[in-house]
Amino acid sequence: MSNLMKVPTMAEMTANGEFPEILFWVGCSGSFDDRAKKITKAIVKILNKCEVKFAVLGAEESCTGDPAKRAGNEFLFQMQAMQNIAVLNGYEIKKIVTGCPHCFNTMKNEYPELGGNYDVVHHTQLIQSLIADGRLQVKDGDTFKGKRITFHDPCYLGRANNVYEAPREMLQKLDAELVEMKNCKAKGTCCGAGGAQMFKEAEKGDKEVNVKRTEEAMEVKPNIIATGCPFCNTMMTDGVKNKEQEGNIEVIDVAELIATAADL
């Protein structure tokens, strides 16, 4: 295991009498989904590179309850939330970075009323501040030279929490051209996964939402669709496949782009 892939759990850290600067909340996708695990690793590498002292919960982490809540099961949501809050408060966690806008939204906005008060940031916000503070140097070689990148705003980061600039500021650090889709920022079209849609077939219609969003992206002829959410990543990847554009368009998380540019 390279030094950059050092991932202590809270249990391990506590056993060593240590305490992290920040807790990395990996999320279910980031833990189990093969594609999303790569994003998780990119975030880990960046944190280690910047010598951010962090830990994960590992087996003690459990679903935040977001999909249950949005599927109408408030009981299950609150059970999950209370259980997670008990663990987090047990470790006296103060600051959390999430790899997923849904976890971010739920923990930041819905946990406080249930007794979980933390300073929660999304990974794009944290990485952006690491760059701004000079803790992370992004010296892009030729990797992204001449590439067109468009950022797909995750609903739960953008409209839901008004975070539009952090991911864009990060992308501007790359030696690439940032192009905006017609529907971007507050007007950004959903990828189709939110509100528990990720876990079911869509209702009857004439098109899939992710295909529509992919078509919107294709209008600006990008080489890369940048995402900030594991669900969006899945949806856009599927959309690109549906349009048979795998050869032309890659779907990559902002964290992965930065990790690549920083040679990690």
Binding site: T9, C28, E61, A71, G194, V209
Partner: protein
């Protein structure tokens, strides 16, 4: 004298009937559950000023925004003239304020006239957008029938109203020039109104004094009758938004859009379940007041803010136009959610007034108006909330109805039931063991 009495009766009936219908709407809205929006008055005032008064969210689409602003400004400013009309009507005088206000009076009426011309043009364009160009969002399924007629009716009323204004002022200009107007003669030869001083002579120039008098009176009475018709039409129309936009934006949700409420009723039960010291055999605490169902099946299960939203909806369709589910051909339309909520609320309110509180008409918002298929198509993306020019939140109604379906009727789409049982059993929406959560650490 007779005209004063007729006028006074008109005034009383006009305001009285309006007040009665507003009262009905108010009591309908108060059927909703409570939600606290009494905090942050300063911030709320700011939101109301920007969004309702300043129409900030309209300007995302400049063309309708500018046209709408002309209508809106004309409407607001014309109300000032109404004060004089009422004063004239009750006193039997003519242009009562003119001698005292002098040049300012001329300026005000001229200002109203210019805005009225702009509004006249805007109204024509609006009619064309609805009926000739057929802007898609104004011609969707849920707009068939009354909503379409409603939209056109109000525009036609606007045209008639403005016509009356120019009959009144135009004829009066000609009369004044002849020294025959009832307005006090200030020795200036013209009333000096920006538009009427030209339009008047052009249209009515050669007419006799008695004809002019008649045109002026038809304009004057027509104007006031239209104003009262308009006022009393409002509570039955989407145009009620010109009033409700203000309270509705004042009571906006100020929290991040992604934040869904935590249900308090559930909170109590979950806390008890999770509390290791709780006595499992203790009798359940007496529920305070009426037992509420989880989530929303009918309008009274929604909050008063949801219901205020429903009456505020302008049926503009910006929400539906931006809804990814609707854009991809699904049945869901957030505008329809709002229209259904309002129509059901009207129906239920009427039934309760007739048969008394607690009356069950065997219908509900769910199923009779909104289907499960619509509810499950929502991605909770908040595009509708973002797009709404008067800060309406269709998403919270959708979510409350899902809660009812799941928690009261256990009606969950099969795949979601699988996701839910996975979370219950292994703390993830998929079938993975919690112990494997950190396996990624060791995978190359």
């Amino acid at each position: 004298m007779i005209s004063i009495i007729i006028f006074a009766v008109l005034l009383l009936v006009g305001f009285g009937y309006f007040a009665m219908n507003v009262g009905k709407i108010r009591s309908n809205i108060l059927m909703g559950r409570d939600v606290d929006r009494s905090d942050n008055k300063g911030e709320r005032l700011k939101v109301m000023t920007l969004i309702a008064l300043g129409q900030k969210k309209m300007f995302k689409r400049p063309v309708p925004a500018i046209l709408h602003f002309c209508l809106y400004a004309a409407f607001v400013i014309t109300q000032i003239e109404l004060i004089e009309i009422i004063a004239d009507g009750l006193s039997g005088e003519h242009r009562l304020f003119r001698p005292a206000l002098g040049g300012f009076y001329t300026f005000m009426i001229s200002f109203i006239e210019v805005l009225s011309v702009l509004a006249f043009i805007a109204t024509f364009i609006f009619l064309a957008r609805r009926n000739l160009i057929k802007v898609p969002r104004l011609n969707m399924k849920e707009m068939k029938g009354w909503p379409k007629l409603d939209g056109n009716l109000i525009l036609v009323m606007e045209l008639i109203l403005i016509t009356f204004i120019f009959m009144m002022n135009g004829a009066d200009e000609v009369l004044y020039a002849k020294g025959a107007s009832h307005a006090e003669n200030l020795g200036d030869g013209s009333l000096g109104f920006a538009i009427s001083q030209y339009v008047g002579p052009a249209l009515f120039g050669g007419m006799s004094e008695s004809t002019l008098m008649m045109i002026e009176r038809i304009g004057w009475w027509g104007h006031i009758v239209m104003v009262f018709s308009f006022l009393n039409y409002l509570p039955f129309s989407k145009h009620f938004h010109i009033i409700l936009a203000f309270p509705n934006t004042f009571y906006s949700n100020l929290k991040p859009k992604g934040q869904l409420t935590n249900m308090e009723s559930v909170m109590k039960e979950v806390k008890m379940m999770m509390d290791p010291d709780a006595d499992p055999y203790a009798a359940p605490a007496e529920p305070e007041g009426e037992i509420q169902r989880f989530g929303a099946k009918d309008v009274e299960d929604l909050t008063w803010k949801n219901l205020l939203d429903a009456y505020t909806c302008t049926e503009c369709g910006r929400c539906t136009d931006n809804c990814p589910a609707n854009q991809t051909g699904k049945l869901l339309s957030p505008r329809k959610i709002m229209m259904d909520t309002r129509d059901r609320l009207d129906e239920k309110g009427e039934a309760i007034r007739k048969h008394g509180k607690g009356h069950d008409d065997g219908k509900s918002l769910l199923n009779d108006y909104i289907t499960e298929e619509e509810l499950w198509a929502c991605t909770s993306c908040n595009a509708c909330v973002e797009a709404c020019p008067v800060n309406i939140d269709p998403l919270s109604i959708i979510m409350d109805m899902r809660r009812y379906l799941v928690m009261e009727e256990s009606k969950v789409p099969t795949e979601l039931a699988g996701m839910i049982s996975n979370i219950e059993n292994n703390g993830a929406p998929w079938q993975f063991s919690p112990e494997d959560r950190i396996n990624w650490r060791d995978e190359a």
